[in-house]
Symmetry: C2
Subunit: 256 residues, 2 copies
């Protein structure tokens, strides 16, 4: 069946989008069939794959507001095996617009369960979340099987983890009983830097086997790629950033 993974962390700038885009591409390159849903009104995952949210017709906004079925919002990327539901800046008012609806937190879950035909042809649905624990992120946590948590090796990022884990527990109790953490992927790792080493060892000590062996190094090529609308595999396949995401995809697939 199709596995649904939310890529979430309310701390900003920790590598959620970079991980969602490059994992999606790496999985597709190994033959997996992947749908990437961009649930962040910043639209970074959409533009990072070369899409222009202003040109897209239906987006995640219409899906969340129940104005269109999920399948209507799906566009093919340049890469075989990878399709995308683009975001829209309109999503930033979804909280307010959905406040008066029946079960506002279950809109994405309902849209995905209604898309039977779509799901039959997919191995993975990855959902890129905005930097908050608001209704959009809660929709993703309610809709997914598990949460992939990018953790930047910095102090504020580690501090925020407990709030994220609390929210995941709350969503599991109230909306999604099977919800669990898929894993924690360390990002922007710089092993020459004491703080990065310390955060890595703290994370492995506290989170144990939830933390993947693969780490993503800080690599400027990863931040250059989106300015060309390319994933790292297309922009610089010889970079340390690409090697890390390729290895991560392998470890991700082999972790039960």
């Amino acid at each position: 069946g199709c596995r649904i993974i939310a890529v979430a962390n309310q701390k900003g700038g920790v590598g959620k989008t970079t991980t969602a885009v490059n994992l999606a591409v790496s999985l597709a390159m190994t033959g997996q069939r992947v749908l990437l849903v961009d649930l962040d009104p910043q639209c970074n995952a959409s533009t990072g794959l070369g899409l222009n949210p202003a040109e897209s017709g239906t987006s995640a906004y219409e899906v969340i507001l129940e104005e269109a079925p999920l399948a209507d919002a799906v566009v093919e990327s340049r890469l075989a095996g990878l399709s995308v539901v683009p975001s829209s800046p309109d999503l930033s008012s979804a909280d307010v617009e959905l406040a008066s609806h029946e079960s506002p937190a279950l809109k994405l879950k309902e849209a995905i369960s209604g898309a039977m035909d779509l799901k039959r042809d997919l191995d993975w649905i990855l959902v890129d979340c905005p930097p908050s624990l608001n209704l959009l992120t809660v929709n993703a946590l309610a809709a997914c099987h598990s949460v992939l948590v990018p953790l930047q090796c910095e102090y504020y990022a580690l501090e925020g983890l407990s709030q994220l884990i609390l929210t995941i527990r709350r969503v599991r109790e109230q909306l999604n009983p099977g919800l669990r953490i898929e894993g924690v992927i360390l990002t922007m790792v710089d092993r020459r830097n004491r703080l990065s080493q310390q955060v890595e060892s703290d994370a492995r000590e506290n989170l144990g086997s939830l933390v993947y062996d693969t780490v993503i190094p800080r690599n400027v090529r990863l931040s250059e790629a989106p300015s060309f609308g390319l994933a790292i595999a297309e922009y610089d396949p010889r970079s340390s950033g690409h090697a890390a995401y390729r290895n991560f995809a392998t470890e991700f697939l082999s972790t039960p």
Copy 2:
């Protein structure tokens, strides 16, 4: 009088908190009287100054929910001239809780205008915002005289600027007619890196004199300081990060 500045940018991880904390401290060290309001449920500005949100009594949450006057939430920092209104994780549900209130976007503005005695003893109120354009950030934009925008020298951060400017314009039209941009401070600048140079020149070309001459370099000491609950001035006064924020405070004070 007392000037109110929101430190805002919906892009995550661009240096909002680092700028709010270190500008507040640098201003206080030049004799200015500063109140830092932490409006982010992540509580990073609070912990970055050594406060423990769990121990604080009244926080920005009670102020926004009109359960306490602003003055009740103010705590003194270790530094003369600097006081703080700490945040609370409870703020993450403020959107939902305020949705049924009369003018939910004006709670901070009302709280600040009600604090006459407090304002008489202050030169600046800086408000650290969460990474979103939600009700908390809109409250800050409605309450302030101007917005200080930290801009990370990366592609996604530059892309997000147009949405921020649109939101500022909308708040100016509907809630706060005098709202303007105080300035744009470039953060995590690495002049050895092509992308950083390109973003800096794009920003200066498009935004002109809004962009401060002073830039904040990428400096690991800035990210180490909060793990000790210290601002950079206290943690490593010889660092390039501290020199940059001291110079920025001087330029900030001299820019009309």
